[in-house]
Amino acid sequence: MANMGLFIADVFFKNPVITASGTFGFGREYNELYPIGKLGGVSCKGTTLLERMGNPPPRIVETPSGILNSVGLQNPGIEHFIKEDLGWLKSQGTVAIANVAGSTLEDYCKVAEILSDTDVDMIELNISCPNVKEGGVSFGTSASSVENITEQVKMRSSKPVMIKLTPNVTDIAEIAKAAESGGADAISLINTLTGMRIDINTRRPILKNNTGGLSGRAVFPVAVRMVWQVAQAVSIPVVGMGGIATWQDAVEMMLAGACAIQVGTANFTDAYTPIKIIDGLEKYLDDNGIKDIKEIVGKAEMW
């Protein structure tokens, strides 16, 4: 059987399939259906220094092959995460990634510092949430602020830091390079694309937040393109996501340059998607006589 394991910044993943932040909670709910220890990793719900209420409902609307969400980072705060969820998640035998968000630079640094003294394996810095008024995506849209926040967080944290990028920028490669020169250990992308739907009868946006973030299969081609551009631009590992729903999507994303992938919205359609992707990847490698999953990373040949 082919080797599915890989390292990202010294952290070992038994396979390249990670569940995406905000779609999988802290793993408890899905552990009712299958042991989440089968997953390469779990990226936890975005966590902030203090508890956040989130946005008023409705927070979700289905769109052709996708969804818009405007949760707005509802979470019980970092201390609650460490006390109630982290220990349990670690004991399931999968890589625990804390997804960190904040309103100010100091918020991000504080949370990263607090996490340094825990068992968390890795920090995913969410500078790409489109659904909060302060912070979030505003840190992720200019190269200089991305470099700055990466540097500051790296200084305050002993954990590997993966910077999660927003697709809502004009030049994704430039942003990725800024993260790399700020000292990022890895890059993940894409977060959601800002979108909007309006009810033609009430003439009001369906989401109470007016706008939301688009995810699901509709964004997959955009995600593949951006992962490919970023993988060309940097030499640190790239974790790809956005619309992945099948093992074929996962292979495609890895050929574009992702060393691992995350699965988000597809969990809502079929809760077993991550497991089906792991099984499908294994079979694909074996059927094609590929000995190691790493052999397909970035192997798409351009015209």
Partner: protein, 255 residues
Amino acid sequence: MAYVQREAILIKKEKLNSTVFRFTLKEDVISEIATAGQFVNIKCGEKVLRRPISICQIDKKHNCIVIVFEVRGEGTQWLSQCNQHDKIDIMGPLGNGFNTEKQGKALLIGGGIGVPPLLSVAESMECDCDAILGFKDIETTILVEEFSSKCKDVVVMTQDGTYGEKGLVTDALVKKLETNDYSVICSCGPTPMLEAVSQIAQKIGIECYVSLEERMGCGVGACLVCACKTKSKDGEKYSHVCKDGPVFNAKEVVW
């Protein structure tokens, strides 16, 4: 919080009126562990999000659950086109149902497509039940016979008076309260109706439980999408219909 995602078999399909269908679904595990007021999340063809539908009846003997749904949009339209023997991908049983370990006498108040889940309550409530069922008109009136066989007394209200009495469920509620002592009210239906029922219950001091609806993502409590505002001694917060509900104590709901 045990639940499964499985293929159920549609063993009986009935049309209750021009837009409402009743499906009897065979699924061993869900029928085994489901309780009154829980729901299932149904994959509807190529739709990204599953559609939440309440469990209307639980038949443990035949390993079946019954659901009743109204065609509203593309998802329920797809579902209504399924045929006998088809496999339907469902996840459940989900959420917290109604507490049916009650003494005294319970009053069930349903409005429109909120009526079906209360039938499972009538069937499993440990004490006697009365029911008030509200509909728009005679065309949309459903399940009256089923409730009549399970409840002591059933009052049907229609907005236009074409069936039962003319008026709203709250009109019937006020009347009922003049001559009855109820230990608990269980209600499901449109939000304004639930709010009105809750207010009356609170004034009289009767325990009241309501089943809420909100647009959902995962259905299991992981994505925090289906928020509804609740209050407790610690203040107000967003709870989630899929995991904390869909049934809430009415005094905790912020309307």
